[in-house]
């Protein structure tokens, strides 16, 4: 083994990979060789560091220098200056990580990381996910060893129960209860499944865990299997996550090679095998019964519950199904004890939650905070606020199944119960921030558009009901809505919620209901005043030219793609409203600010 004095960690998550981190790695290799120090410095491709907005990210240890937005041409500078001569390239560092005296601050002191507590993401951005040895070095598979050699299945379930962990997939069902139900079923074939079919628009927590620390999930599934008496597991993951699938498969292969999966693990009677099943990207397959139907090889459609999966799941056998993030907590709970975990978070929501923060926010990325952290802390402190000096309007949690949290409730602590009480939900952890330029009716329509597309069609309330709701929203946003439409929306929403077969339909009306709850005035503005206050809904907008300001330069007319602007040079121009497609080009091209949107 080479003795290296410095490690260059390059983020290889999906975010940084798409902003070019692969090129950085090969450039580092070239430059290190050129400097003759390729044996002293190792380049490591890790999982997500979380600060995706500033990718690609490179961290150099032992100094802990956090370089952000690195381009291939910067690599030579970093190698020559930092790695060869030991002079940290301050101008390429993440601004927040440099103190006023030009020293490097530990990452844990920057705004973005200060309030975070990393349990699930503890290895993301630290280890090379493609090397099982590195996972083992940070206590990997130790929990499995402890469980198999020192604990009974009942004791395992007891620890999980006392930790208070609840499912991280969205509904928040206590994890230990699921395990207990399955464990109590008569002996025989049982299954352990992992739901990695992360389909909410804007959510990427599970992907990042699988990309950055796949072994944590594998280890936890083996622990779960031991607890309920299963020998076979399946990870259901969407095919749209190629990097995660690749690393997961590699991790499974390595675990098998080390005998951490397979027969007689740690020389005990316990055997466990794991396979990947690829999903084809249907949102409904994230619903537990649909997911299992899909694993069985059928069309992914849900079925009524009960019987619950813990009794009759995959191939009619007792099955537990947990989310990626839930599993990633388990080894830590076993190693550190139930009390440790139960001390983090709030009374009824224990531990931490990972959020994929996106939308109108400066630090888009992945954050992990203790339960009970307020939305304000996430948006203003960790997230770095709203770009371009705009104002916060609302945040959507739980994606298309969740609801919005308006400014007035920004101090709500984020935990399962507080969110439910204000009409939103925890969801799997997508957090989309909206500023004053977002139209709430349009947002509701967007999410409904998604559920209409993703409804599997098995039950009528969801298949037909969401379609009708979408039509009403279309009508409202195009200025043809009536007050009766708003009433109809509410009635439809409530009956869809109560009569749909599965979670998809039962939660599909949530975005409409919660925007109606907090932003009904915007709906009314669309219906009564025929105006979109945020200036988003095109049919309710009009571009007009201010005759006073117009100098008749003809620039707008030249740029209008549909020749809707007419006039004579040096005289005020005019927009023919019937022809205008409201693309906004004229407004952005006018040198005199004479065109306005209302």
């Amino acid at each position: 083994m080479n003795i290296v004095r410095s490690h260059v960690l390059v983020c290889g998550g999906t975010g940084c990979t798409s902003s070019g981190s692969e090129k950085l790695i090969s450039e580092f290799e070239v430059q290190l060789k050129k400097a003759g120090i390729e044996n002293e410095v190792s380049v490591v491709r890790t999982g997500c560091f979380g600060l995706c907005a500033l990718g690609p990210i490179v961290i150099v240890y032992p100094e802990g220098a956090f370089y952000s937005m690195i381009k291939p041409e910067d690599v030579e500078t970093i190698v020559q200056e930092h790695l060869l001569k030991g002079r940290i390239v301050t101008k390429l560092l993440y601004e927040e990580a440099v103190s006023e005296k030009n020293d490097i601050l530990p990452l844990s002191e920057t705004q973005f990381y200060k309030k975070q507590q990393r349990i699930v993401l503890r290895n993301c951005g630290v280890i090379d996910p493609e090397k099982i040895d590195e996972y083992i070095a940070f206590d990997g598979y130790k929990a499995l060893g402890k469980v198999l050699t020192e604990m009974t299945p009942e004791q395992v379930i007891d620890v999980v129960k006392r930790s208070g962990i609840r499912g991280r997939g969205g509904a928040g069902f206590p994890t230990a209860l699921k395990w207990e139900f399955a464990a109590k079923q008569p002996e025989g074939v049982k299954y352990v499944c992992c739901n990695a079919d992360e389909g909410d628009p804007g959510a990427f927590m599970d992907r990042s865990v699988l990309e950055g620390d796949p072994h944590a999930v594998i280890e936890a599934m083996a622990i779960a299997a031991y607890a309920i008496g299963s020998e076979q597991g399946y990870i259901y993951i969407r095919a749209e996550y190629p990097i995660a699938v690749k690393r997961l498969q590699l991790a499974i292969d390595q675990a098998k090679e080390y005998g951490l999966l397979g027969n007689n693990i740690f020389d005990t009677d316990f055997s466990f095998d794991l396979e990947i099943r690829l999903g084809a990207g249907a949102f409904v397959c994230g619903e537990e019964t649909a997911l299992m139907t899909s694993i069985e090889g059928f069309r992914g459609e849900p079925r009524p519950r009960p019987p619950f999966p813990a009794v009759k799941g995959l191939w009619q056998r007792p099955t537990i199904l947990n989310n990626v993030e839930t599993y990633a907590n388990i080894p830590q709970i076993i190693l550190n004890g139930a009390e440790w975990f139960a001390n983090i978070g709030t009374e009824k929501s224990k531990g931490t939650k990972v959020f994929a923060v996106g939308g109108k926010i400066n630090n888009t990325g992945l954050v992990e905070v203790p339960m009970g952290t307020t939305l304000r802390e996430i948006v203003e402190e960790i997230g770095g606020g709203i770009p371009n000096g705009k104002k916060f309007k609302a945040a959507q949690t739980g994606g298309p199944s969740g609801g919005c949290i308006p400014l007035s409730l920004i101090d709500t602590p984020i935990d399962y119960d507080s969110l439910l009480s204000i009409g939103a939900m925890m969801g799997s952890g997508g957090l989309i921030v909206m500023d004053e330029d977002s139209c709430m009716v349009d947002i509701a329509k967007y999410f409904l558009d998604f559920t209409v597309d993703e409804s599997c069609g098995k039950c009528a309330p969801c298949r037909i009901g969401t379609k009708r709701m979408h039509e009403i929203l279309e009508k409202i946003t195009s200025g043809k809505g009536t007050m009766q439409d708003i009433e109809n929306l509410k009635a439809l929403a409530n009956s869809i919620k109560s009569s749909s077969l599965c979670g998809l339909g039962q939660t599909a009306p949530n975005p409409v209901l919660s925007t109606l709850r907090y932003f009904e005035d915007e709906y009314i503005a669309h219906v009564v005043d025929k105006k979109c206050p945020a200036g988003v809904c095109k049919d309710l907008l009009q571009y007009t030219i201010d005759k006073e300001k117009c100098k008749g330069c003809n620039i707008c007319a030249k740029n209008c793609p549909v020749t809707a602007i007419i006039g004579e040079l040096k005289k005020p121009y005019e927009i023919i409203q019937d022809k205008c497609i409201k693309c906004g080009v004229c407004e952005s091209k006018c040198p005199f600010d004479a065109i306005s949107r209302k």
């Binding site: 070095a137 206590d139 005998g259």
Partner: protein, 123 residues
């Protein structure tokens, strides 16, 4: 893998090589001056010797790192040893052999090698 001991062995073997990926505040730092003057005077073999010796002795919580010009170019190669809670010790005119002694006497046995320090340099 048949036993926990095997797992522990892999853990220990790998941890040594990746443990420097931690934001540490405490711990001993050995800094080598690696500006042009230092490199020209032979700082690189000194650095390698330090890294090798730390690894060979399996010392934990020791960081070997580099810095720019320390300012006394005529005394290069220079290394500085920062032990938490103690005064910095500056060693001058280092060689790989001297570096190894610094590790064994100063770092391991906590006895700074007085004859190599900057205060002795011009005597």
């Amino acid at each position: 893998m048949k036993s926990l001991a095997e797992l522990e062995a892999i853990r220990n073997k790998t941890l040594g090589s990746i443990n420097l990926r931690n934001d540490r505040e405490e711990g001993t730092r050995i800094v080598v001056g690696m500006a042009t003057c230092g490199i020209a005077a032979g700082a690189r073999p000194v650095l390698s010797a330090l890294v090798d010796e730390v690894a060979k002795r399996d010392l934990k919580d020791i960081i070997v790192s580099q810095t720019g010009c320390i300012g006394m170019c005529r005394l290069e190669p220079i290394i500085e040893v920062y032990v938490p809670g103690k005064e910095k010790v500056t060693y001058v005119r280092m060689s790989p052999e001297k570096a190894v002694r610094v590790i064994s006497e100063h770092i391991v046995n906590n006895r700074p090698v007085k004859e190599f320090t900057v205060s002795e340099a011009d005597k």
